[in-house]
């Protein structure tokens, strides 16, 4: 996988409570599905919850989406804040 920015990390590696911008979604089908859920490359979201070895739940405004482990390896994000402050 060619990444145009070294600051990007896989969603898999993002800690709970981290705010990030979605930069790249590798899987075409997932890209389409997420577009409809409200998330696109460039969207800002927060890692709402993550299960040990399991899915990551990201929250984007009021919308929560659970993403299985396999897919979290294919979403590349840029971390913008590692915070515990309130999301909007």
């Amino acid at each position: 996988m060619e990444l145009s920015n070294s600051k990007w990390v896989a969603l898999r590696a993002v800690k709970k409570g981290t705010r990030f911008i979605v930069r790249q979604i590798e899987d075409k089908e997932m890209r389409t599905q997420l577009l409809r859920f409200g998330l696109a490359e460039g969207s800002e979201a927060v890692c709402f919850e993550r299960l040990p070895l399991g899915p990551v739940i990201i929250k984007h405004r009021r919308q929560e989406v659970a993403i299985g482990e396999e897919l979290t390896k294919k979403i590349w994000v840029e971390v913008i804040a590692n915070q515990n402050d309130k999301e909007h």
């Binding site: 075409k28 997932m30 890209r31 389409t32 599905q33 997420l34 577009l35 409809r36 859920f37 409200g38 696109a40 969207s43 709402f48 919850e49 299960l51 040990p52 070895l53 399991g54 899915p55 739940i57 984007h60 405004r61 009021r62 919308q63 929560e64 989406v65 659970a66 993403i67 299985g68 482990e69 396999e70 897919l71 909007h88």
Partner: protein, 678 residues
């Protein structure tokens, strides 16, 4: 299915056919759409199952409209059954009522913009205005309506607020402001298309690469989906940024809903919540419905009223022996046998004596029809011990129906309150190990109720591969509620250690089956990607409607197979085939499984109905070791005949027969191994 859909969508519009306009309700899942439908069409609705799917379409009438409810979708396309069904209903709409969850504007407007691009005359119902307030948000509805070019009505459907305005607005349905750039791209497609109800809508689908719609017009689909979706998403975001703002902090209700959602996902709190939910299901369905309600309806209405009624009809002209057990509570206090060698109508005196004997007593009548003549055999097939007109009706109406209603009601409640997708998320990891994802939790849990019902539910899984894995696990290793009662009773006899051994055996078999099928099948299963709607109180009308629709379609689908199963076993009984099979099995059960010869009968009967098998074991005097072995075999053994038939229908003859034949080997293989070890 395809030919059928081609017909409907390329025909003239419904107005021309029926004089009524077709009003289609469209919205994302969980936006409260059915409340709108109920409001418009009242009680007189027509539920139909879309060919080849479990997806139901409900239709009703309102003024001069034919109102059609569609499954919740995130966009008009053809990714799954729900979408395909909704797509065809939408494409033939005269007017679209788009229901939007005000708290989820960003998600829901995506579908709205697509519908606007398709140039349907439409009205938007902005639902859940109360929840928006709770969330501390505000929407500039006037501005939104101006941008979209469509009338918008604020509604709180659950409190029935805003419906009057909505009814008025329906008369002012307008075609909104579509994406100009997109409209320009449609021209070349429109020129090549066949005449249809909504040409622009079809053209948008083709531009977005929808193969089915393109095929109907015999043109190649374009590949512009992603480009269009990205542009649409950007427009949604711009609109939301303009019309939506934060007014205050989230109120208690919204905070609680979010917290609750989090608790159900995190295993530390989620597992206790799951245990609580399962316990509730067990208390209500297992104890209340299965033991109290079913115990009562099956015996009192079925065995004591309905069956004797039918049997007496046959008995008038058939040689019969009626043995009457007089009951006092559970105990038999007196037994008397009446023989009618020429049927009850030929011996009036004795029949009167019989009637006066049972008069005013709590009795159980056992009929033994003489099988000396062919007629006697036929009567036995239809009204004997396993009679299609007697036992099967009792079983379906008084036993299975209450259970199925109970299970579907719980499923509807859990679905409506937003718990199911979160449960799927929490258990996802467990299921990825056996080639499934968290969604499979629903059929697996249902399997403990009725494997037949659960096999139907495997349709909600995404890929054929996952459906195969789930169907295998269900039909190999999950004991249904019919067996569970007897299994529990027998295990209580066997004791704690043996119970634990039994559970470990079945659990490892379940994991082994999943892993093996996962390894054998080519390809990869899909990973979880699921939208988590806000947690909220389930709405009674929704729950009742879903329960009714699902129960009805399940009973329609499965009931015939229960009749056929009963016919089969009755025919086997009167022809002596049953005895033949039992004798064939005896060496295996005695030599290989170290079980008494009579248990062979239990296994053979289990092929038709699993509870027969389990119940047969209960009457034998088994040692704890034998209990574990026999229960292992009966649990892993072939699914009942109704399950098998549904399995054939769902997964094809080849796959179903592989599972069926595999169950034989697996059940006796594992059973023998267990018998050898313990």
């Amino acid at each position: 299915m395809e030919t059928l859909t081609i017909d409907t969508s390329l025909h003239s519009t419904t107005v021309e056919r029926t004089g009524k306009k077709k009003l289609v309700l469209v919205g994302n899942p969980n936006v409260g759409k059915s409340l709108f439908f109920n409001h418009f069409s009242g009680l007189y609705v027509d539920v139909s199952n879309f060919p080849g799917t479990t997806v139901e379409i409900t239709e009703g009438n309102y003024k001069n409209f034919r109102v059609v409810d569609t499954p919740g979708i995130y966009g008009v396309s053809s990714f799954n059954d729900e979408e395909r069904v909704a797509r065809d209903e939408v494409l033939s709409a005269d007017i679209v009522l788009n229901v939007i969850d005000a708290t989820n504007l960003e998600r829901d407007l995506f579908l709205t913009l697509q519908l606007i691009d398709m140039q349907f005359p439409m009205v938007i119902a902005l639902n859940m205005m109360d929840a928006l307030e709770e969330a501390g948000m505000e929407i500039d509805v006037e501005r939104l309506s101006e941008i979209l070019g469509v009338p918008i009505v604020k509604v709180t459907a659950i409190k029935k607020q805003g419906f009057d305005e909505l009814e008025k607005a329906l008369e002012k349905a307008t075609v909104g402001n579509a994406d100009k750039f997109l409209l320009n791209m449609l021209e070349p497609i429109l020129a090549k298309m066949k005449p249809t109800a909504n040409p622009i809508a079809d053209a948008v689908m083709i531009l977005e690469g929808d193969e089915t719609v393109a095929e109907r017009h015999a043109i190649q689909p374009e590949d512009k989906r992603e480009e269009i979706y990205v542009a649409r998403r950007n427009r949604v975001n711009e609109i939301v940024a303009e019309v939506m703002r934060e007014k205050s902090n989230m109120k208690f209700g919204a905070v609680l809903s979010e917290k609750l959602g989090k608790w159900t996902i995190n295993p530390i709190s989620g597992i206790p919540i799951l245990i609580l939910a399962l316990w509730l299901i067990y208390e209500v369905i297992g104890v209340m419905v299965a033991q109290r309600v079913v115990g009562h309806t099956e015996v009192e209405f079925g065995n004591k009223l309905f069956e004797p009624f039918v049997k007496h009809l046959f008995a008038t002209i058939t040689p019969v022996e009626i043995s009457v057990d007089v009951l006092n509570g559970e105990d038999v206090i007196e037994t008397k046998t009446f023989a009618f060698p020429e049927g009850t109508s030929k011996d009036k005196e004795k029949f009167e004596a019989f009637k006066s004997f049972i008069e005013g007593k709590d009795v159980m009548q056992n009929f033994t029809f003489s099988q000396e003549t062919l007629w006697g055999k036929i009567v036995t097939v239809f009204a004997g011990e396993f009679g299609a007109f007697t036992m099967t009706v009792t079983y379906l109406a008084f036993l299975l129906l209450p259970l199925v209603i109970g299970f579907y009601m719980f499923l509807a409640i859990l679905e409506d309150c937003g718990y199911l997708p979160r449960l799927a998320t929490m258990v996802d990891r467990l299921f990825t190990g056996i080639g499934l994802n968290g969604r499979a939790v629903i059929p697996i849990i249902l399997g403990f109720g009725c494997v037949t019902m659960a096999t139907v539910t495997t349709r909600l899984l995404q890929t054929s591969r996952e459906k195969t894995i789930a169907a295998s696990i269900l039909n190999f290793a999950i004991p249904c509620s019919a067996q569970l009662a007897v299994i529990t009773a027998l295990l209580t006899k066997a004791g704690g250690v043996y119970t634990l051994i039994f559970f470990l055996i079945i659990l490892s078999c379940l994991i082994a089956i999943g892993t093996i099928v996962d390894k054998i099948l080519p390809g990869k299963s899909s990973a979880l990607l699921i939208d988590l709607p806000p947690m909220r109180l389930p709405r009674a009308s929704n729950v009742l409607k879903k329960t009714w629709i699902k129960t009805k379609s399940f009973m329609q689908e499965a009931a015939p197979w229960f009749f056929i199963g009963a016919l089969l076993i009755s025919v086997m009984q009167v022809t002596g085939l049953l005895e033949g099979w039992v004798r064939l099995f005896e060496p295996i059960t005695t030599q290989w499984l170290h079980l008494p010869a009579e248990s062979a009968r239990a296994f053979v009967m289990g092929m038709v109905r699993r509870d027969f098998g389990a119940a047969g074991l209960y009457e034998l005097n088994l040692t704890p070791q034998q209990i574990v072995v026999s229960l292992t075999v009966i649990t892993l053994f072939v699914p009942c005949i109704a399950s098998l038939m549904v399995l054939i229908k769902e997964r094809g003859v080849k796959e179903a027969m592989t599972i069926w034949a595999g169950s034989w080997l697996f059940a006796f293989g594992v059973g023998g191994a267990v018998a050898f070890i313990i």
